[in-house]
Amino acid sequence: MKTTRVVIAGVGGQGTLLATRLIAETAIKKGLRVRIGETYGMAQRGGPVMGHIQIGDVYSPQIRPGEADALLGFELAEATRRGITYLKQGGLAIVNSKKIPPVEVISGIRKYPKQEELLRLLRQVSSKVAVFDATSIAEKAGDPIATNIVMLGALAESHILPFEDEEITTRMKESISSRFLELNMRAFRLGAEAFRESQ
């Protein structure tokens, strides 16, 4: 079977892990082989976080540079940084335009690069770049914390993954507590819509 590789890039506290797990659990339900590698630093929040998901005949928890089919970028600068290294030529980048400035920017040591400058670099790897403000969409769904599910909805809509949207939402119903389920289902739908509109 064809191997599917997705890189998830973001910042600690954005819920990248839940999105990663939902994809992996959906794959395992189908009897697929999945490998996930995660790289995160020391702080609970605010540090760069990266997840590698590979579904298929793979051993390593790490995707080689230039081999990811898709990039799911939860934060603008992190998306660009990881996309340039890991996304394959012509691969799909789904990017949240949300900026989370690091301490260097907050304390005036560095500037946050302009969105068009960052995307200019990313587009040298692929012209398939879908950009939208997933955090505002999550707020519309009810809570900015659901940014991760908005992004997941967009990825599902891109049909990069070897399963249907309903298989992911079924998994969500099984693993997200009922208190938060409605919010997350709404976020998933709005994410899928945002991806369609960006095309």
Partner: protein, 630 residues
């Protein structure tokens, strides 16, 4: 949804993290006791035990430190119960005293200790390779490559431990501990063995002092020699060799994954003999000799030290001195750090006389690196440590005239990030509890210091150092940055939490009571979010002769919000018409929730990040930061 670790379905395939798979392996082995001290990348082992211990009818504890954790596990082992103790690599240094003794005196019930090593220092002060300690202490070391291995090797480790009456090291690296993958479950087991101290094996009185005490190294060496023979036919080591290959690879632990992916990519699966090595101490010398004899070139992949490679080199001298060895010793792989897929691709290609094309993205990556900040470490939005540091800096400036007239000796924990901008206020940190010890040496030679330590670290290793200061009449100042949980590793309870690992209520041990009991005379407790009061307390501390201690207390903001879920804190906002754009909040405080609009020249607060602590409102020069009306 219940935790798949306790799922009682043999043959079921589930998604498990490496650390969770270790717990599952221990449950399949029927353990009775698990202990741990939190530390990345080991923490999820304990977190998982904490979650499932009651359901599975076993005891789990977050012990005060790794030495205590090991001793508790060993005590149960001497009473014929299977036990597990887990820690991050540097934790094993703390437990080394008891490991050495447990190895020499032997175990009764299987005892498996997990050392989760951290090559390339993802979250550690150093990348020490703990396999050397397995070698030094004559204990077997097993290295799983993925979560399935992690479970299966754990189960095997208990059989091995009881067969040879030795503690067994399960050695993971970050990439295995944190890898998630398919795991096929085996049978959960309850042993229900009678808990009985084995007097014949362990009692000086019954077994005899001389027999127990002397000459045990010889016995340990003999055991290792026998285990070496076992390992030649162990399922943990798999040699794939047709006899026609000219080159071979010894792929240790996790690096096996990179080797297999590289062979698939290069299309060289049939050209290379591969030994998947799961036992790094002792090495299966028979298997390795067979491989050595059959090939001209041999690559050893492992992390981070050339531990296996060095031994293979020694073995090659006898078995096949002409073999060309590739690895970390001859520079074909880096001499330190974790391996990356491309490094292994290139080393294998070179061995096969091929060359892989260089990265076409090098220039683009350079451009991106120049454009994009590195995203430095910092403490979270709302972190009480940030306000403690802010107040400390002001107090030192007021009392000493210059903030750098005092050396700030920090310690291990979130507050260890005090060095980061814009705080820039911490000179050293070393290992658990060292802040109070090294400060005394500086003070004894006339250099002013402040020991800057967290609550968890205080309990772990600082109390003897504090007693030392009192006894030696050393003039030291101690700030305990107390956020009431062991936050950096994921909010585990510590001795003052008043909770056990499994959530039962217990006594809360007071830091101020300990300080008082060991003879500290000047003790103050302050609210870290009240910068004025905290600064005043720090000033009094600095003006006191002798040992003076301030506890700057406030619960970790992230933990506080976890507890109030699903409610969210009320964020603060900047009144734009009042903001003068002075950037004091950004440049001196620098909470990640703050931002600056370069066009409007006004500060702003990101309401999705703000934790509502309100400390920035105290820092603001014109009082333009307020709680939002919600």
């Amino acid at each position: 949804m219940s935790n798949p670790v306790t799922l009682d379905k043999v043959g079921e395939m589930v998604l498990l993290m490496g650390n969770e798979a270790i717990v599952r392996g221990a449950l399949e082995a029927g353990i009775r006791i698990a202990t741990s001290y939190p530390g990345t990348p080991a923490s999820e082992i304990g977190n998982t035990f904490a979650e499932v211990a009651k359901e599975m009818g076993i005891h789990f504890e977050w012990s005060t430190n790794e030495k205590v954790a090991f001793e508790v596990a060993y005590g149960a082992s001497m009473c014929n119960q299977r036990s597990m103790v887990s820690m991050k690599h540097v934790g094993l240094n703390v437990a080394l005293d008891i490991l050495e003794m447990a190895a020499l005196r032997g175990v009764k019930g299987g005892l498996v200790f997990v050392s989760a090593d951290d090559p390339s220092q993802h979250s550690s002060g150093q990348e020490q390779d703990q396999r050397w300690l397995a070698k030094q202490n004559c204990v077997p070391s097993l290295e799983p490559s993925d979560p399935q291995d992690a479970k299966d090797f754990t189960l095997y480790a208990y059989e091995l431990s009881e067969k040879y009456r030795l503690p067994v090291m399960l050695r993971t690296v970050t990439r295995v501990s944190h890898m998630r993958s398919n795991v096929v479950l085996g049978k959960l087991q309850r042993l229900d063995r009678e808990a009985k101290f084995d007097f014949e094996q362990f009692s000086y009185v019954v077994a005899g002092f001389d027999k127990l005490f002397y000459g045990r190294e010889k016995e340990a060496n003999e055991k290792i020699a026998k285990i070496m023979v076992d390992f030649d036919s162990s399922p943990l080591n798999k040699l794939t060799m047709s006899g026609k290959e000219k080159v071979g690879i010894i792929a240790t632990g996790q690096t096996y994954n990179y080797v297999m992916d590289a062979l698939i990519k290069i299309g060289a699966k049939d050209k290379v003999a591969v030994l998947k090595l799961g036992t790094s101490n002792p090495l299966p010398e028979g298997l390795i000799s067979k491989l050595l004899k059959g090939v001209n070139k041999l690559l050893v992949t492992e992390e981070p030290d050339p531990f296996v490679e060095l031994h293979v080199k020694a073995l090659a001298k006898d078995v096949n001195p002409k073999v060309l060895l590739y690895g970390r010793l001859n520079g074909k792989l880096p001499g330190e750090g974790e391996l990356m897929p491309l490094m292994v691709d290139n080393a294998i290609a070179e061995m096969l006389g091929e060359e892989l094309p260089p990265s076409p993205r090098a220039e683009l990556e350079k451009e991106a690196n120049d454009m994009i900040f590195g995203r430095m470490l910092t403490v979270c939005a709302g972190c009480p440590h940030r306000s403690s540091i802010y107040a400390l800096k002001r107090a030192v400036k007021a009392v000493k005239g210059d903030i750098h007239k005092v050396v700030i000796n920090g310690d291990i924990g979130c507050y260890g990030l005090a060095w980061a901008p814009p705080m820039n206020y911490e000179d050293t940190y070393f290992c658990m509890g060292a802040s109070i010890g090294v400060s005394q040496g500086m003070s004894q030679v006339g250099v002013d210091t402040i020991a800057w330590i967290g609550d968890g670290t205080f309990f772990h290793a600082a109390i003897p150092a504090l007693m030392n200061a009192v006894q030696t009449k050393t003039n030291i100042k101690v700030v305990v940055a107390d956020n009431s949980v062991t936050a950096m590793t994921g909010f585990q309870p510590n001795p003052q939490s008043g909770k056990t690992a499994t959530g039962e209520t217990t006594k809360s041990i007071s830091i101020e009571a300990i300080a008082k009991a060991v003879g500290v005379e000047h003790i103050e407790v302050t609210d870290a979010y009240d910068t004025t009061a905290t600064e005043a307390a720090f000033k009094r501390m600095l003006q006191t002769e002798g040992v003076a201690l301030v506890i700057s207390r406030r619960i970790c903001a992230t933990e506080a919000i976890r507890r109030m879920r699903p409610k969210r804190p009320i964020p603060y906002e900047v009144n734009e018409s009042e903001c003068v754009g002075c950037k004091i909040c950004l440049n001196t405080f620098g909470c990640p929730g703050l931002n600056f609009d370069e066009e409007k020249k006004k500060a702003s607060i990101d309401k999705t990040i703000c934790m509502g602590c309100g400390v920035c409102a105290q820092v603001c020069s014109v009082g333009c930061i307020h709680e939002r009306d919600e």
